[in-house]
Amino acid sequence: MRIKVDVEKCIGAGQCVNAAPAVFAQNEDDGMVVLLNQAPPESMAAGVRSAIRLCPARAIVFDD
């Protein structure tokens, strides 16, 4: 799976970090999302799907 994030939409709620900490982090400077892995392995798919569903700003999408 490939994913991308839209930092312009992000509000820094950190739901993605809770759901998939190996894939998402928050930038120290502004709290906005940082994508650690654009192509997370299948083993992380459940966490990523959960992040996509939880993100309040709909800032995370599949990139295919």
């Binding site: 509000i11 820094g12 709620a13 950190g14 970090v17 809770n18 759901a19 982090a25 928050q26 930038n27 120290e28 400077d29 502004d30 709290g31 906005m32 959960s50 569903r53 939880l54 309040p56 700003a57 709909r58």
Partner: protein, 433 residues
């Protein structure tokens, strides 16, 4: 309960709901044609469940219309998916001066129209400036560093409770104290300021109250914060309290005026304690009313993270906050919401939607509930949610460990609830152990 003779009371049932008469429904009322919207029910029949009216209205597809206290009509969204659609859609505004904005009570209208500004009631780009500045102080990582402090606060309060002996006042001596102390530490508010934000929050949240009270205590807090900031600007600190970061990173660099800084601090203080305290009390009541669920938490400390999602969903204490007005025509759940029409996205209704949460009135700490909307959804979703979850996790894991025999002194039906508060919850109850 606060028996205020308020317009909110009329046409809705009195709690504890001895009357069998339902709030008038558009379809069932013999005197009104089906076109007349039913009066919006604020009062609950049962303290742990949202008003029955919402269940009835959710039987119909999409949003429906209700009549508010001033006779105006507004849409309400009760389906989970509709609530998320409304809250994620930038065509809905939170700006209270836009014609058509729905106010759930007269006090609310007076407070929101005449009160000091607050970034919840701003749309982008005004909202963005405040939210982005605050987000960096509210990261998941930062709050994980605060866990030991929160644990100390909870331990100290429970120690004091044990020293004094049962029974204990759970709301004033525990549930309110946790968020007040945590917020004071996070923001950097000295002891003398804590009473001020407690009062300002209480007055602001009392929907049936007198708006001049909220105005008065709100101004006292605002002026206090003004002088506290002035003092910090003269001698800036070097810690990571919110007030220091605002002074050093924002005011000193010209990005924020002092009023901008007061606005955000004021908002954090007022938004952060009644919500958290009510979730602590409602969660405790839910656990005590469902001993099988409490037993699960006692036997498995790892269950607390999921239990907190369920407690947030089940309690949904901020029930009427997410009001919006359509900026342009929008279709939601198959209904056309016209520009200038109001919309209440009802979080407590969405969190009990059986289409999303099977057997929604069942309190089940093992259910999948992380996607609840108790913190709202969209760009205004709670800024303090990571902190709130942390506080709740520490509270409920410690409670289960230290007070396995926790009991209510009086049964649930003798407890009085703040039925007209923005954050629903009990006024006070006593516990023993």
């Amino acid at each position: 309960m606060n028996h205020v003779e308020s317009h909110l009371m009329s046409d809705t049932k009195q709690f504890p709901g001895t009357s069998a008469e339902a709030a008038p429904m558009a379809s069932g009322c013999p005197f009104h044609a089906a076109a007349t919207a039913p009066d919006f029910a604020i009062l609950r029949e049962h303290p742990l469940h949202p008003p029955e009216q919402l269940k009835d209205l959710r039987q119909r597809p999409g949003p429906t219309k209700v009549r508010l206290w001033d006779g105006s009509e507004t849409w309400i969204a009760t389906h989970y998916e509709d609530v998320r659609e409304v809250l994620a859609d930038p065509r809905f505004s939170t700006v209270t001066t836009r014609p058509g904005y729905p106010f759930v009570s007269q006090q609310r209208r007076d407070v929101l129209v005449n009160g000091r500004p607050n970034f919840t009631f701003m749309d982008p780009p005004d909202h963005t400036k405040f939210r982005r500045t605050m987000a960096r102080m509210f990261t998941v990582e930062r709050f994980s560093r605060m866990r030991p402090f929160v644990q100390t606060v909870v331990d100290d309060l429970f120690d004091a409770m044990e020293r004094k002996g049962a029974p204990a006042n759970f709301v004033d001596d525990f549930a309110l104290q946790v968020p007040v102390r945590v917020l004071a530490q996070l923001v950097g508010i000295p002891k003398e300021g804590q009473e001020l934000f407690l009062q300002a929050g209480k007055d602001r949240f009392d929907l049936s109250g007198d708006a001049t009270l909220s105005h008065g205590s709100g101004e006292v807090l605002w002026n206090y914060l003004d002088s506290l900031l002035a003092e910090n600007e003269r001698t800036p600190g070097d810690g990571d309290e919110v007030i220091t970061r605002l002074v050093v990173d924002q005011i000193a660099t010209g990005k924020f005026s002092r009023d901008d800084a007061i606005l955000v601090i004021n908002q954090l203080l007022v938004a952060g304690f009644d919500t958290t305290a009510s979730t602590i009390t409602m969660g405790t009541l839910a656990l005590l009313e469902n001993p099988d669920q409490f037993a699960k938490l006692k036997s498995d400390q790892a269950a607390v993270e999921n239990a907190v999602h369920e407690i947030l969903r089940y309690a949904s204490v901020l029930q009427f906050h997410s009001s919006r007005v359509a900026r342009e025509d929008v279709e939601v759940g198959g209904k056309l919401i016209k520009a200038g029409e109001g919309m209440l996205a009802l979080l407590h209704a969405a969190n009990r939607d059986p289409a999303e949460f099977p057997e929604p009135d069942k309190f089940d700490i093992e259910r999948h509930a992380a996607h609840h909307v108790a913190f709202s959804y969209g760009i205004h979703q709670c800024l303090g949610q990571s902190l709130a979850r942390l506080e709740l996790q520490v509270v409920f894991s410690t409670l289960a460990k230290r007070f396995p025999n926790l009991r209510l002194v009086k049964p649930l039906n003798e407890i009085e609830f703040a039925a007209h508060s923005l954050a629903y919850g009990p006024h006070e109850f006593q516990i023993e152990w």
